[in-house]
């Protein structure tokens, strides 16, 4: 049972959905593969207002954005394979897709990898105790599953995302005992959010680190090393904000080359201004092309979509170039507003396209 499609998009999050619109609205048949049961990626459980988005989007909450992105695909030639995973490649270049019971080949003219990012752990003694979860998991539990993951919590880390989730946890009745930051100041760049956190009365500790967690079968206590003393908090929930790294398995399997940019999340596939990898039929979008904000994630999806349209000769080179340069300008504004160092890393990464650090490492 071989399935055929013009463009296979791996990942039905914001980047994949944005790319799908560029492709399907120009008549290409698109297939989206995602292991989740619903499209929208992590937006589905984001209740915070997302302010900076590329045109044509207005500021809206994450779950509303997920709905808007899927709704405009409704009448277009888009096939969803939800609850499906890419698990490998066939000799003829077809992608192996599994639905937990069966595996089948999917033959695509072009592939867009939009696999997003995964959260990093923050290791300390006993960090694996149940009740210690990622900040993203905490948000998923309260906003997707409608479950309060604990009564008394400590948040480890202070990015914009961590502050957002700390406030959301407090809103559903979780007592946040502390926000602990290793650096000398909170990392969140959104001044309004930081002010909200301060107003909420949640203690914030900078120059502080978790020394150890304790508990029998689940977390019960956590020791926090402050500059001159150690405090112990009694908790049933610890949320770790260790930052995020691109999800790369699909790119390993597809044989893309890699470079390293700390600011973009570490290792990531090399790509050019078309968001095209050195495997010419493979394009990238979203956090898989470097960790950034939701607005940038959408813009990269649009750029990848336009580039694939050009590669499949659905639009001409001149038009593609015009659309792409407008999108890159918009992306630059979105990225430099809060994270100029990420934009600089992105430019460096693209400059290194011809000189990857890892090439043909994963072909066995």
């Amino acid at each position: 049972m071989a399935m055929e499609t013009d463009v296979l998009i791996i990942g039905a999050g914001p980047a994949g959905l944005a790319a799908a619109f560029e492709l399907a609205s120009r008549g290409l048949e698109v297939t989206l593969v995602d292991e989740s049961a619903a499209a929208g990626g992590q937006l589905v459980q984001q209740t915070q207002l997302i302010r900076s988005l590329p045109a044509p989007f207005q500021p809206m909450r994450g779950f509303a954005l997920a709905e808007a992105l899927t709704k405009r695909l409704a009448a277009l030639p888009v096939r969803y394979l939800l609850g499906h995973r890419m698990i490998g490649l066939y000799r003829d270049g077809s992608v192996g897709v599994a639905d937990e019971a069966n595996v089948f080949p999917l033959k695509a003219r072009k592939i867009v990898v939009a696999t997003g990012a995964a959260e990093n752990a923050v290791p300390f003694p006993k960090w694996t105790l149940p009740g210690i979860i990622t900040i993203g998991a905490a948000q998923t539990l309260i906003n997707r599953d409608f479950v309060r993951p604990g009564k008394h919590a400590v948040i480890v880390g202070s990015s914009d995302f961590a502050v957002d989730v700390a406030l959301q946890l407090a809103d559903v009745g979780v007592n946040i005992k502390a926000v602990v930051e290793r650096q000398s100041a909170l990392l969140a760049r959104d001044a309004e959010k930081v002010a909200q956190l301060k107003q909420s009365g949640i203690p914030t500790y900078v120059n502080a680190a978790v020394k150890e967690a304790r508990g029998k079968g689940e977390v019960a206590e956590i020791d926090i090393q402050l500059s001159e003393r150690v405090i112990t908090e009694h908790v049933d929930l610890v949320c770790l904000d260790g930052g995020r790294s691109p999800v790369l398995e699909a790119c390993y399997q597809l044989g893309c080359s890699f470079g390293y940019q700390q600011e973009l999340g570490g290792w990531l596939p090399q790509y050019n201004k078309r968001l095209q990898t050195d495997r010419e039929d493979v394009f990238l979008a979203g956090n898989a092309a470097g960790i950034s904000t939701q607005g940038v994630v959408l813009a990269t999806g649009m750029i990848a979509g336009v580039s694939v349209c050009e590669a499949l000769r659905v639009i001409g080179g001149e038009e593609a170039e015009r659309l792409r340069s407008a999108l890159w300008k918009e992306l630059e504004v979105l990225e430099t507003t809060l994270f100029p160092e990420v934009w600089q890393a992105r430019l460096r990464h693209m400059d290194n396209f011809g000189n990857p650090l890892l090439k043909e490492q994963f072909i066995s």
């Binding site: 292991e35 989740s36 049961a37 209740t47 909450r61 779950f63 995964a118 959260e119 752990a121 694996t128 105790l129 149940p130 009740g131 210690i132 979860i133 990622t134 993203g136 998991a137 998923t140 539990l141 309260i142 906003n143 997707r144 599953d145 409608f146 479950v147 309060r148 993951p149 809103d171 559903v172 079968g217 689940e218 999800v247």
Partner: protein
């Protein structure tokens, strides 16, 4: 604990389902994942690690960390943060490596 009235999303939980953890009945709501339904019922320890036999629970809720593997309806190593709870579902912790039988699949 279930969130009956969400400050932003309002009331979303409506249809209850009964599922079984170690043969004991628990109440969850349709649409919740198995791992979340267990946490709502105060169950955080979902199994033991394979090598050191240390307690493990939900960690990433994204299907990546594999910390929430459980046995669901007779199937071992199910990522319970990704699958939805269903009426009558039988859930057991993974306390050791599953017995791998070779029935000709996956060769």
């Amino acid at each position: 604990m279930h969130i009956k009235h969400h400050p932003v999303l309002g009331k979303r939980l409506s249809e209850t389902v009964t599922f079984y953890f170690q043969d004991q009945p628990y109440t969850a709501y349709r649409g919740q994942t198995v791992a979340a339904a267990l946490m709502a019922n105060g169950i955080k320890k979902l199994g033991l690690s394979r090598k050191l036999l240390q307690p493990r629970g939900l960690f990433c809720a994204r299907g990546r960390c594999c910390s929430c593997y459980m046995t669901v309806n007779g199937e071992d190593h199910v990522r319970t943060c990704l699958i939805k709870v269903e009426e009558g579902m039988k859930v057991y912790p993974n306390l050791e490596d599953p017995e791998v039988t070779n029935d000709g699949h996956g060769d």
